[in-house]
Amino acid sequence: MIEWEQVWKYVVWAAIISYFGLGLAITFGGFFDAIKMFRRLEAEHTEDQMANAEAPMSRE
């Protein structure tokens, strides 16, 4: 016989702990990931700008 009341109590606490625990980890991890993403995009952006600047010279 399943004690459903107990099951749902465990489920609720498991959800609260895991959801907010992971939320904390994602908050910190995501911050550094965002910095990494922008560094990568910035580097590509700079490369593109340099390539665009060089293009007319090469035609000359």
Partner: protein
Amino acid sequence: MPLAFSTVDWWIVGVYMLIATVPGFLCRKYIKGQEDFLIAGRSLNIWLATATLTASEMGLITVMYMAEMGFKIGFSAMVLGLIAGGATLFVGATGFMVAGLRRSGVTTLAEYYEKRYSKGVRVLGGFIIAVAGILNYGVFLQVEADFIRIISGVPDMHIAFGAGPVHVIPSINLVMSVLVVIVLLYVLLGGMVSVVLTDYIQFVVLTVGMGLTTWWILTKMPEVGGMGGIVQAVQEHRPEYGFNPFVKHGAIGVGLLFIIWQCMHWTGSNTWQTQAFRTSATDSPRTAKVMWSMTAVNFFGRAIIPMLWGVAAIAFLSKTLSPDAFDQLSTSNPRQGMPMLLQALPAGLVGFMLAGMLAALMSTHSSYMLAWSGVLTEDLVVPITRALGINLPEWSRIWITRFFILCLGAFLIVFGLWFKMKETIWNYLSLTGTMYVAGSTALLVMGLYWRRASAAGAYLGLLFGAMPGLVYLVARILVLLGETYGFSVPGTVAWLDRELTEPRVGVISFPLAFLGLVVGSLASGRSGETRREAPPLDDQLALAGAAGGDQ
């Protein structure tokens, strides 16, 4: 019931809106092509990918329908959270479907249809994806407006021009329209890069808002009485079916059929375009797998926590409303239970919670706008124009996508805000979702793991997957039209309307889609290998045998 929403709360909401939207406008310079616009140049690492997937899939509408289920059927509703978490963990841990999709290098799911099957399958698939997705999305604002109206207590506006008659404009219409305009602006200007950034900010605000609200409900509301009080209220007002998900009280309750349907739905839900985009945006198949494993925890929590609020509303409202009013609410408008509970939060916290919910709303809208407009551009316009001998350049595809985003914004305001739906929101969402997910799951699974899957089978799989939902919708609309205009529908239509319940439609749709694909493939006698443009099927088959091989 007194409203706690005060000036402080409006300030909190206003400051949040600035913090959450301004960064999106600053991302324009990074957008140089359609890939940057739609999938952030495939540059997402694990944490950011998980944050953005969670934020986009945790909408205000999610909170509303999860809480509605909790209020209506008690703790039993939480079985949905267990299924969502379990199925997503299975997908993440094994890489089932998602690793193959990421490895295929496609941007949209329908693009995969073309690579694996044919251009025609892509167009049909894209059409079904777009129609089902947009219809699904169309009712979001309506439900969200209900929440904001109850929480903030915004009054209707009375406008008179000179000595003319007084016009009554529901203020919430204006508030929601402004929100859509803001979302439109930053999606139009930034695309996925801005969505990713704002999603991250919104994820943080949403998580803090949800955490504080849950803590307050469980510890600071004497009417709720903590977990003990909630359990006692469910025993009293939702006896038996409120705890045991296999027991039904008439039509109320979860039931076995619903559980089977949801198991299939959640396993295949990674093909839902807004989620498939996130798989495509990861920097590798390994990141896709880890992202989905972590998202399992989030999917579990995003169901259970709003459901807990809904269940807590049973305890709170059964004590604060008259028995008649409580019964009336339970039977005729359970959607309003949770917002009525949250009205009782103290000033400051209610503003922060609303900011969190607005965060959920905006991240979902931005993501959905991008997803459906991307499908319309990449899977309908581009293949059709290509067939006509016109090769659209990159810049024009971005502008077409932006045009569709604008159309979607207008559609949302007209259809979602002013058009009144007769269906309940959960029925509507689950039905439109199944019309799409059943076929897409069959095509992706069999495309990746069955060498003989062919274009003919794919056509049948898509059509068979969408058919039960379509029959249900047509029968329902005909019956409603008959009731409205006083004509009687044919007996078969009435029978279909009576017998085709949502769980039945769901349970039928998935096997039908697979059956259609298998029968069509076997009957056509052509294997997927014969297509010259077929993706590296060996890679995908290797993936099926060794899911961890892409580490």
